[in-house]
């Protein structure tokens, strides 16, 4: 009897002009037309009438997701799953929402579940790979990106993801090596050799062979160095002692090689935002900020307004001292530390202060101290400069603190800061001089 009454009641609702059937039809049409906000409004009306139908909540979540309202979408999808835990698409969509919201830890279990349900779904695969990469699980990320590149060999995002995962994987393995080990020193040498800095590479290789005179990869690298520097006779002697890499060293080298191959595949696909983004990052790492800016601009031409790309461009503009262009972008993305730095560097320290007060990073503290010093408020400069002292690599922060202390009458403390500043500067100069004085000698 109760069922009959319910069915009659539903029938009556559906027959009305704003009844579920009509609304549902309208919502589907809005979705098809790409009017996602409109669709969401219609689904909300439906939900008022049928509040406990999980599928409707899921559809609302999907509409909101498509409209770019990921937080609101996630809330609806969670409700949908509470109402009906078997809604597989809702699981997947919720995973994607968390991925878009930059919440990889929340996204991971959902995406894994979605992948089990639909193993060939490339979107899920990509987001799952990205989520793993984002939390530093490079091994699973590499596997997923490999799978994706086999599924979609023309997917530039996948090749870039694979290259980045492999690069970061090799770096994480490197970080685990003892800093002064023959393995670590040889890898540093190889990086210098790749950057065409044979003297620096030679220094590292000498140190590596002092640690382990029989370390085959160091001899192989030395042979390569000698060949590059036109000492083929010395190279022959080293080649004889060379041995193939093994263990972690080999793993790092292999990952690096595969990363290069992945980036080469990305490049072979032709121009893409991912390719230009990779080029921009490479240029920035080499200190070629003009090159980085050009590459960011090319990427943005293909993906206008992309926040990640605009943030990258903003940072390169800052590093390139193009403050006029950097400041609006840094403001747009609320990159307060960099914005403050840009304002200080462009001679507007008073304007920088309110932005720098919003963030506590050492870089922001350093810039804040510099800003206060420049506007002749030395007392206020002292605390932020002290907070940033640990990051002083060139003596500059100690020097600034010395000036602030001196101007507030703390002469003895200022003298001590000046002493440390000079010490840091002196050590840096000595290192540079030593690096310049290196002579490549025979085996």
């Amino acid at each position: 009897m109760f069922l009959v009454l319910l069915l009659l009641s539903l029938f009556r609702l559906a027959a009305q002009p704003d009844g579920p059937a009509v609304l549902s039809q309208q919502a589907r049409q809005a979705m098809s037309a790409g009017h996602f906000d409109e669709a969401a409004q219609i689904y909300r009306k439906l939900i008022v009438q049928l509040p406990n139908v999980g599928g409707l909540r899921m559809n609302l979540g999907l509409a909101l997701f498509q409209a770019g309202k990921h937080r609101a979408a996630a809330a609806e999808l969670e409700t949908a799953l509470k109402l009906d835990p078997t809604l597989a698409p809702a699981t997947m969509m919720l995973g994607l929402c968390h991925a878009k919201l930059g919440e990889p830890l929340a996204a991971l279990p959902l995406l894994e579940k979605a992948r089990k349900a639909d193993p060939s779904n490339a979107t899920v695969l990509l987001e799952l790979a990205d989520a793993n990469y984002a939390i530093g699980r490079f091994g699973p990320a590499i596997e997923l990106f490999r799978e994706l590149t086999s599924l979609q060999p023309a997917n530039s995002t996948a090749w870039r993801g694979l290259g980045l995962s492999l690069t970061d994987h090799s770096q994480s393995l490197f970080a685990r090596l003892p800093a002064e080990s023959a393995e670590a020193l040889t890898l540093l040498a190889r990086a210098r050799l790749a950057a065409d800095e044979p003297k620096a590479a030679f220094t590292f290789l000498r140190q590596a062979l002092t640690k382990n005179p029989h370390f085959g990869p160091a001899h192989a690298s030395l042979a390569e160095l000698y060949t590059k520097t036109d000492h083929s006779d010395w190279a022959a002697a080293e080649t004889a002692k060379a041995a193939p890499a093994s263990g972690v060293f080999a793993e790092i080298e292999n990952a690096s090689k595969e990363a290069l191959q992945a980036f080469a595949r990305l490049s072979a696909l032709g121009p893409s935002a991912e390719l230009h983004e990779t080029e921009a990052e490479a240029a920035r790492a080499r200190g070629n900020h003009a090159g980085a800016i050009a590459a960011w601009r090319k990427a943005l031409a293909l993906k206008p307004g992309n926040p990640n790309l605009e943030r990258g461009l903003a940072r390169s503009l800052l590093q390139s001292r193009n403050y006029d262009e950097a400041i609006p972008l840094l403001t747009k993305y609320q990159l307060y530390s960099e914005l403050g730095e840009a304002l200080v560097e462009s001679g507007k320290p008073a304007e920088a202060v309110p932005h720098l007060l919003k963030t506590r990073t050492p870089a922001a503290q350093a810039a804040l101290g510099r800003a206060y010093l420049a506007i002749d408020q030395p007392a206020k400069a002292i605390a932020p400069l002290r907070a940033a002292l640990a990051t002083d690599t060139d003596g500059g922060l100690h020097f600034q603190l010395a000036r602030a202390l001196q101007r507030t009458g703390a002469v003895a403390q200022a003298r001590e800061m000046d002493r440390i500043s000079q010490q840091i500067r002196q050590k840096k100069a000595e290192r540079q001089e030593a690096a310049g004085a290196v002579v490549i000698t025979p085996p």
Binding site: A290, P349, G396
Partner: protein, 508 residues
């Protein structure tokens, strides 16, 4: 709009190009990026024939790496000022064509015969020329300088009445150690950063009289301080009656050699607060001027440097202390992206406050390949608004603002005797430029002849007869003062360290 135009004309500083004397700075650029090639460009302004008009001397480059002046295009040039911006090349008669790759000049009457002599820093060897007074110069032997003398200045450090020679040595470069620097994969070869070369000490040549000089680098204490000098300027910054020397160092902290008054110097830049800008990092310190910009009677310091480093302005607080004032003087945003060489404090609008002119260019001709900075730049004028702050005034001179070049040396001098300071600027591979001051106001000015490095005080203003100015350049002429609309004060007081102040009448 009319009001704005009137305002700009009434209060701006304006320059227009005057005819060039004809000098082109040959610097021998090449793919080998020999370092001297980018370092040429100092100059001198002095009245070699005592006709009352400032003449122009332009040191010139040579073939590299031979350092040979293989033809007239490499000659150093002396131009006689015939008035009204007409100049006659008198190099041959004067015997100043020189040899070697010359970088700058230092002009002063070292033998007190009433004629201004000339030292020319050069590779492989610098030269000292005595002005014989008949329009010719003769070389005078001096102790060896180097390994690379890039600038110099005359000052009487021991107050014996004879000008001594402070020699600025750059670094230990030679064609044999001209490294490859740059980005090999991109085959971008650039001039090496100074960190690739060893520092060298500056030198002091004591003038013994009778045309003899003695190298007192060791005994004076200068030998203890290796640096990478670019320029020098003198002033008695601590008012102890002895001239001190400020030396800019490229990629190293600056030196402030305090004259202890006993023939020795102590390096005091850190204690005085002028070694580094407040940021505490070493910068590429280039040119320098050392004068009182805020009319408090104490000589201040302005330094040019490269893009991103700003042009630090050090205000003299007294008691031997300076404080960087680049930001509070509102210079920082105006200069942060500029790279400069020559620099002068000079009252271009005769309002009684010294303005700043900088000759701009980066050192690295390929800088735009890797950064947003440009190599060739227009020069800059910063107008001193109230004795404390500066405002950009370059755009008031549209031709000057539009002319980008690899500028190097710069000096200010009243070349046409109209009471306004004109500008002489060099640029690599380009004709030297003369900019005629056309600032439209009725402000009064005067020029006071004074011995080298003497301090001249008129009313509340102080100016100094700095012989070493800007980048490896030298001015040996009268000291300029502007007074705005105020009547000219009747007298000036000239103070030479070690002598009683002398009062002279101000020329109407």
């Amino acid at each position: 709009m009319r009001l704005l135009l009137f305002s700009a004309a009434a209060f701006g500083i304006t320059f227009v190009p005057a005819p060039n004397p004809g000098f082109v700075l040959e610097h021998s650029p090449s793919p080998e990026k020999y370092l001297p090639s980018t370092m040429a460009g100092g100059l001198a302004v002095f009245d070699f024939n005592n006709d009352g008009r400032p003449d122009l001397f332009f040191p010139n480059g040579a073939e590299l790496p031979s350092f040979r002046k293989t033809g007239p295009k490499y000659w150093n040039r002396l131009y006689r000022n015939d008035g009204d911006f007409h100049f006659t090349d008198v190099t041959e008669k004067a015997g100043l064509a020189g040899d070697g790759f010359a970088f700058g000049a230092a002009a002063a009457d070292f033998d007190n015969d009433g004629f201004i002599d000339l030292f020319v820093p050069a590779l492989p060897a610098s030269k000292l020329y005595r002005n014989k007074g008949d329009g010719t110069f003769v070389e005078v032997p001096i102790p060896a300088t180097g390994p690379w003398t890039i600038a110099a200045g005359w000052f009487d450090y021991d107050r014996d009445g004879l000008q001594d020679l402070f020699i600025v040595n750059y670094l230990n470069w030679s064609p044999a150690n001209n490294h490859w620097c740059g980005d090999r994969p991109k085959n971008l070869r650039v001039y090496c950063h100074p960190r690739h070369f060893q520092a060298t000490t500056n030198q002091l040549l004591h003038n013994k009289g009778n045309g003899k000089f003695e190298d007192v680098t060791q005994s004076s204490g200068l030998a203890k301080y290796p640096g990478k000098g670019m320029s020098v300027a003198f002033a008695d910054y601590d008012a102890d009656g002895f001239l001190d020397a400020f030396v800019t160092n490229d990629g190293m902290p600056n030196f402030l050699f305090r004259n202890k008054g006993n023939g020795t110097f102590e390096e005091n830049a850190f204690a005085a607060g002028v070694a580094l800008p407040d940021r505490g990092v070493t910068i590429s310190n280039m040119g320098v001027d050392f004068r009182d910009y805020d009319n408090d009677g104490r000589p201040d310091i302005v330094v040019t440097a490269l893009a991103g480093e700003s042009f630090p302005l050090f205000r003299n607080l007294g008691k031997g202390q300076f404080q960087e004032a680049t930001t509070t003087a509102r210079l920082a945003p105006l200069v942060v992206r500029k790279s400069g060489w020559g620099v002068v404090f000079a009252d271009f609008d005769n309002d009684g406050r010294k303005d700043i002119f900088t000759a701009n260019s980066h050192v690295n001709d390929l800088v735009s390949a890797t950064t947003s900075d440009a190599y060739q730049l227009p020069n800059s004028i910063f107008q001193n608004r109230d004795g404390k702050t500066f405002a950009g005034a370059t755009s008031d001179s549209p031709e000057l603002a539009a002319e980008s070049a690899a500028h190097r040396g710069a000096l200010a001098a009243d070349l046409d005797g109209d009471g306004r300071l004109d500008l002489i600027v060099t640029a690599l591979g380009a004709p030297a430029r003369i900019w005629r001051n056309t600032t439209a106001n009725t402000n009064k000015s005067t020029q006071i002849p004074a011995p080298p490095n003497a301090t001249v005080t008129i009313g509340s203003q102080t100016n100094t007869a700095n012989t070493a100015v800007g980048y490896s350049s030298s001015y040996a002429g009268p000291v300029h003062f502007g007074f705005g609309a105020a009547p000219l004060p009747p007298e000036a007081i000239i103070t030479v360290p070690g002598a009683a102040p002398k009062t002279v009448a101000v020329r109407k």
